[in-house]
Symmetry: C2
Subunit: 578 residues, 2 copies
């Protein structure tokens, strides 16, 4: 209900932008203007030029007009009537012709001083419902008419709109905070990853510190999986086309596949996912029901031929590493295996303080052409997942039409420290690939019995998860995950040997300690702060004398302690992933 | 000297094969017949058909003729004279025309009953020098004239030949033993890896047991590297073409590169090696001389577009995983870094009982077109490596012309348990890529100073190393490396719970123990033997009663011991990699 209301407000404000712009730049032609996440946009062919500098003026005009907008007058009109009204606007005229051609009704929604072609969905009484300080105009951008670069480039005005000023301010603060936490900037400052013009965009190279992070996260997932009977496997990153023809991926993924023609003329592809390869490991020999489930885990890289314009830091890349796993099991084992993966997901994300929601993503029965498998098998699969969610006693979000092409799934959404929502882990049920690859086991009656697959990535893409984690933590990683855990700072050169002795002791205990290389103590302290090192140990005359070190955490000085005590304290913090 | 003599013997035996075949199948035309590793071959257009079944008859004829072959008569002849002699042989005629066209001398080397076109290199007195039981005819194969499939398919007879019967027998025994140890067969029996027709040849998929092996080997190398200051990095498996144009690999590797054209039309390649990617990690920021060496380690897969006919098990594949590392250092640091890598190589291979030799592979100064860099930089580089070998007090083999295109290298050759030699690790010096990528550090005088790279893979290809290790050990891996270390065999079902308790205790101590799933004790014992499990624990009434288990090693029964003692014994064996 609240959701609907805010969409109406946002849509209404797009109309109000039209009224304001047409008053300020008479003769400007408005094109489309929908509600979007956090606000709205409105496209124009402006009679003149509008830049970001003009936005306050337009906003002021909108606030001036708003009190007069006490309601929309809805009116169904004929094509001729509509075209006559919009002779001055070639975009609306084109839409009118199109709607008429499709036999759609043509409706005007008119506000004071504005006649507009629209199918509706506005506030009943904008003057009453919209607080003048609950919206703003955000920025101006270029956008092709109908998104087609062969068409004219229009001016798009983006606005932000919420139910109240408080919500708008909260969003602006969150966005400001997100900017400070931008993983692309922090990645460079913390020296975690780098892009090279020679290697190409969307292909991150991982520095020693970034690689430590990746491997620690991967080890954590593996620890949780190992305890549940998973086994590691390994696969090549390419395959003959035939594998994907059989799995169905060749047809579904064809535009995004990196394809290779070998010197002998064979067609190969780089893998966009790992499931078809894993089926071939399962299929290597017959299985007794007693040997199931077989649970294969594999951290490996997938490739997608993304368009350059869509690449963004680690969020959208051409090569991403998945902490992938597939469980091959009997129908009766689905629930137990799903629950085990769910436990891993919960434990893993809780360790970083993410607040989690789950979504049950199902097929769209009206569009079965988007899926492989029969309507009946889909219904059975969805029922099993519904039961799992019910048994957990969780309110799952509704993901109608969000399923993978081979089966329904549970998607986990993480809420980060500044309130943003990210889709992260997913557990997918798959009846289709086991059928296509004829995966079976021999059951109690010595019959061949079809099995199912469960797709169970925890981080999904490690690269994308790291982009989320870096922004969630602002680069302030917990001790166990920090690439450098302890920076030892000698007060002067004569304390260097003692500092080195401490570094060696810490490293011998499997910690990651470094001695600061900077010229003087001031610089050493600043470097440790910029690098967000969890602990700093300062050693001077007093510490050398007493065989201690002065410990400082991120919150401030803790005090001089015997080195053995410091080691014990830090090891416990690492062990518990505090 | 001995080498030369055996080549003469082998070449002589090719001629003797001609004499025997022409006597048995008159009218047969002989083509070429060189000495090769372990023997010789001789090509024919046979007047009739020769199969493996005919070989004893040919061999007998050779032994009959041998006593009459007391020397070759050498004779230089004119083109016309030669052509007249060989009107009956179109292959020799073609060669005569060719030699004459090139202005070469034409010589006959005639033995009793045989006139043959040949440039020489035979035994002085075959009847005296060649023992009749020191050679045999091995097999018949097809071979195109001049290796060109557009030409006629000839009959090739392969022979084995050594200095004595003893050497021949030793070679035959080694070959027989190698057949039993064939890694392709053991790989299947031990369930280590599998090939899928859908994925394609040359692309191994690694099962859980094979993956354990790979990871343990990789961890061992990492343990040795970590102690020497190496850091892990990670890279994508593809790159824009530009990276390889700059490194020089595009030109040198072009036929073997898997190439990709993206949907936007950019040219990408799958990496055939990792060095160019690693330069881009080094190049991400300026370095002070104080921060060098930077040592980057990275276990990652490389790809080569090998022809299908050349693929073989794990020995030659299209995707192979390298335990790669690159050291970025100053000139003055080369020797120390080489020595460190050499230590790692020695420790690693010694752990498996390989006998190692080293080869110094240098450039061929007469063919500088095969290399990047100046003759002067090559001479400097070779001198440094010579010094390193001298200081080690090692006799290095001579590898003239065996260098990589970017620098000289040390190649390590492992001798396996059945006497075969394999080229394994290599340490390569590289002046060229650092220059091409402008890699530098800031030196003591605050000047930009060029640096060098050292390429330092230990196993090289993990896949190929595993093929060698499997055949070296015959699949009988040391305890620390065995995918299943302990198989616990309950005598009957009522001992199952106690067996499971022991398995759980062993696994909790980070060992890999399994309870046998087979139906009865006999089968359980046999399975453990086939899988070459190092230790078997049998538990029956007595063991349950006494809280012991009866330990059997590969050499036989050790006896009933308390479980804690067994754990302690096995852990020590694992810790020391015995």
């Amino acid at each position: 209900m609240a959701e609907k209301n805010i969409d109406q407000i946002r849509h209404t404000l797009a109309h109000l932008t039209v009224a304001a712009v047409r008053e300020l730049w008479p003769g400007s032609q408005n094109a489309i203007g929908p509600a979007i996440d956090n606000g709205f946009y409105q496209d124009f062919e402006i009679a003149g030029t509008v830049t970001d500098a003009d936005l306050p003026k337009i906003e002021a005009k909108m606030r001036e007009l708003l009190p007069t907008w006490t309601g929309f007058e809805k009116k169904e009109v004929s094509k001729e009537e509509a075209l006559k009204e919009f002779t001055w606007n070639k975009y609306k005229s084109e839409l009118i012709e199109e709607f008429a051609g499709q036999g759609k009704k043509i409706t005007f929604h008119n506000a004071p001083g504005l006649v507009d072609l629209c199918k509706g969905g506005h506030s009943e009484n904008p003057a009453k419902e919209i607080a003048p300080d609950s919206f703003n105009l955000d920025r101006v951008a270029g956008a092709y008419w109908r998104g087609d670069e062969k068409n004219k480039m229009l001016t798009r005005i983006y606005g932000l709109a919420f139910s109240s000023k408080k919500e708008l301010d909260a969003y602006l603060a969150q966005r400001e905070e997100a900017k400070k936490r931008d993983h692309k900037i922090l990645g460079r400052e913390l020296d975690l990853f780098v892009f090279s013009d020679l290697v190409g965009p969307g292909l991150p190279l991982w520095t020693p510190r970034g690689t430590i992070l990746r491997n620690l996260l991967d080890d954590f997932v593996w620890e949780l999986r190992k305890a549940r009977g998973y086994l590691k496997v390994e696969i090549p990153h390419i395959t003959k086309k035939e594998l994907y023809e059989k799995s169905g991926h060749w047809e579904k993924f064809k535009d995004e596949l990196f394809r290779i023609t070998t010197r002998e003329g064979h067609e190969f592809a780089m893998k966009p996912m790992n499931c078809p390869h894993h089926t071939q490991i399962y299929a290597r020999r017959p299985w007794s029901y007693r040997e199931l489930p077989q649970r294969y885990a594999n951290t490996t890289t997938c490739y997608r031929d993304e368009q350059t314009g869509e690449l963004s830091g680690l969020s959208r890349v051409r090569a991403f590493t998945q902490d992938d796993a597939h469980v091959f099991c009997r129908f009766a084992q689905i629930k137990e295996e799903f629950n085990q993966v769910w436990d891993i997901v919960q434990t893993f994300y809780a360790a970083f303080g993410f607040d989690m929601k789950v979504r049950l993503s199902t097929h769209d029965p009206k569009h079965m052409e988007n899926y492989l498998g029969t309507p009946e098998s889909w219904e059975t699969a969805v029922k099993i997942l519904e039961q799992i969610v019910r048994d957990k006693g969780v309110d799952a979000l509704d993901g109608d039409g969000e399923a993978a092409f081979y089966g329904p799934k549970l998607d986990f959404m993480a809420h980060d420290s500044i309130g943003r929502e990210w889709q992260v882990a997913t557990i997918q049920l798959d009846f289709v690939q086991p059928m296509r690859f004829d995966l079976t086991c021999t059951n109690e009656k010595s019959e061949k019995e079809p099995i199912v697959m469960i797709h169970a990535a925890i981080m999904g893409s490690i690269d994308r998860f790291l982009s989320i984690l870096i922004e969630h933590t602002g680069g302030v990683f917990p001790l166990w995950l920090s690439p450098v855990q302890v920076s030892v700072l000698p007060v002067s050169d004569k304390h260097g040997a003692y500092a080195q002795e401490i570094v060696d002791r810490l490293n011998a205990e499997n910690m990651r300690a470094e001695i600061s290389q900077d010229d003087n103590l001031g610089k050493r302290v600043r470097s440790a702060k910029v690098e967000k090192v969890p602990y700093v140990l300062v050693v001077g005359d007093a510490e050398v004398e007493a065989k201690t070190a002065t410990l400082e955490g991120r919150a401030g000085k803790i005090g001089a302690l015997p080195v053995a005590d410091i080691i014990a304290k830090l090891k416990e913090e690492i062990r518990t992933r505090a």
